[in-house]
């Protein structure tokens, strides 16, 4: 996947030129306003990039799934909110398997007892758990997760990460996730991309980031977290 993505609002917020491989987990780290969310929104077509961008992704739009930082919670039960992630074209057999996956994930992340509750009564962390399950219920060629555990406590975060790892093991899709936590990147990602002022400053595995940060911006970022 060759991604040349630029986005300018009143200032340049994204200027990325990177080659990514399929079937890997990528973590985007960086401070607030570094361009992580903008990159994910551009990749998911939520926002249009500048005209001089060139995003070469070998997937159709419906094969790319994006979980926003603040997912919308529909005025439906938790279970029905999650079911929105199942494509309508799926066969009955596929839908039964999806139901099994949903139940398993709900139990793993301690949300099973709330499956019939109205989703708008959930807390922020619970809503995020629900949205994460919705994004993991079927295979996506490219899964984009924008800080998927930011509202969760540490126990829930670890369980959510377990779900992401299981998803990767089962479906082997490509995942790009934004996170503020270098430790989360270390636990999940094959490759970490450090963004600063909309540009990718370093690409390496998480351990190399921690042990041998190259740029001053990354050293500064790591000192602050």
């Amino acid at each position: 996947m060759k991604i040349v993505a630029k986005k300018t609002f009143d200032r340049k917020v994204l200027d990325v030129d990177v080659q990514l491989e399929e079937h890997k987990i990528y973590a985007l780290i960086g401070a607030n306003g570094s361009g992580k969310s903008t990159l994910l929104k551009v990749l998911s077509s939520v926002i249009n990039p500048d005209t001089d961008s060139s995003i070469d992704i070998p997937f159709k739009n419906d094969e790319v799934y994006y979980m926003p930082q603040m997912p919308y919670t529909f005025d439906l039960s938790v279970y029905n909110n999650i079911k929105l992630g199942i494509p309508l074209k799926y066969s009955t057999g596929e839908k039964i398997y999806c139901k099994y996956r949903i139940d398993t994930m709900l139990k793993t992340i301690d949300l099973y007892q709330l499956r019939k509750a109205n989703a708008q009564t959930l807390s922020g962390g619970e809503r995020q758990k629900m949205a994460l399950i919705r994004s993991l219920v079927v295979r996506h060629n490219l899964l984009l997760l924008d800080e998927p555990t930011s509202a969760m406590d540490i126990n829930a975060t670890l369980k959510a990460e377990e779900l992401i790892i299981k998803y990767k093991e089962e479906f082997d899709g490509t995942i790009i996730m934004a996170t503020h936590s270098i430790k989360q990147a270390q636990r999940l990602a094959d490759v970490v991309l450090f963004l600063d002022n909309g540009e990718i400053k370093e690409i390496a595995d998480a351990q190399t980031f921690i042990d041998h940060p190259q740029s001053d911006e990354l050293k500064d970022f790591l000192q602050k977290i």
Binding site: P71, Y72, D75, L84, P87, S135
Partner: protein, 236 residues
């Protein structure tokens, strides 16, 4: 001074209690016109309002401006427009609809539909924006998105219908022009009130005024409560 006021009110309530056949007929004609026109306006206006709130497309702003302009048009102007279109020598004169309840319904639909569109668009706009990222992220199709938007805004939709009904019941200018206020045919509560007032039959006018106020107040109250419930739910 107050004695005459209370006397008129008392006589009006006596008329209401007596079940006057003409009054019942006028109320029935009003309900037929108001229910039909508000349902048609809702069926046209609500989907249009939801579409405007959900999707961004070329010409959307122009549509919104047109809609808001139509919301502010005086009823008599719509009445005259419908009259010009449907009078005997008008382009639709051969349909012979002028001075019928159908013509009144047409005028009401023209009047109320922009109000429904505006109400639904305004109240659903925030949901549309909040939904955008998740909708595109999940890859929800247009039909699914539309149905979800309707579900998310069900209280606002109910409120929009109730306001439309109340507006249809209380309208006088346009229905007077295109209906002609014909006894046993197109006479509705508002035009009957005006007629009774003009002919000095104040008690009948007051009686119908009480009924119309009760109906519109009741519907507006229910509509207001539903809108508050909807807004509170969104804020949670």
């Amino acid at each position: 001074m107050w004695a005459s006021f209370w006397q008129s009110l008392g006589e009006a309530f006596t008329i209401i209690g007596s079940g006057n056949p003409l009054m019942n007929e006028v109320v029935a004609t009003t309900m037929k016109m108001a229910v039909t026109s508000s349902i048609i306006s809702f069926l046209i206006g609500a989907p249009l309002g939801l579409l405007l709130a959900t999707y961004n497309f070329k010409g959307k702003k122009v549509l919104v401006i047109i809609c808001r302009t139509l919301m502010g048009l005086p009823p008599v102007a719509i009445g005259i427009l419908v009259y010009l279109l449907f009078r005997g020598i008008g382009p639709f004169g051969q349909l012979r609809l002028i001075f019928t309840v159908t013509a009144m319904i047409i005028a009401q639909v023209l009047l109320i539909t922009p109000v429904v569109v505006g109400m639904v668009e305004t109240s659903a706009e925030s949901t549309g924006k909040a939904l955008l990222e998740t909708r595109r992220g999940i890859g929800l199709g247009s039909t699914r998105t539309f149905l979800l938007m309707a579900n998310e805004n069900k209280y606002q939709l109910m409120a929009a219908y109730l306001f439309a009904f109340a507006r249809a019941t209380a309208e006088v200018g346009a229905v007077q022009i295109v209906g002609g206020n014909i006894l046993h045919k197109t006479m509705v509560m508002t035009t009957y009130i005006a007629l009774n007032y003009n002919t000095g039959n104040l008690e009948f006018a007051v009686a119908l005024g009480i009924i119309i106020v009760a109906i519109t107040l009741g519907f507006n109250l229910v509509g207001g409560v539903l809108q508050i419930i909807g807004t509170r739910k969104k804020k949670r």
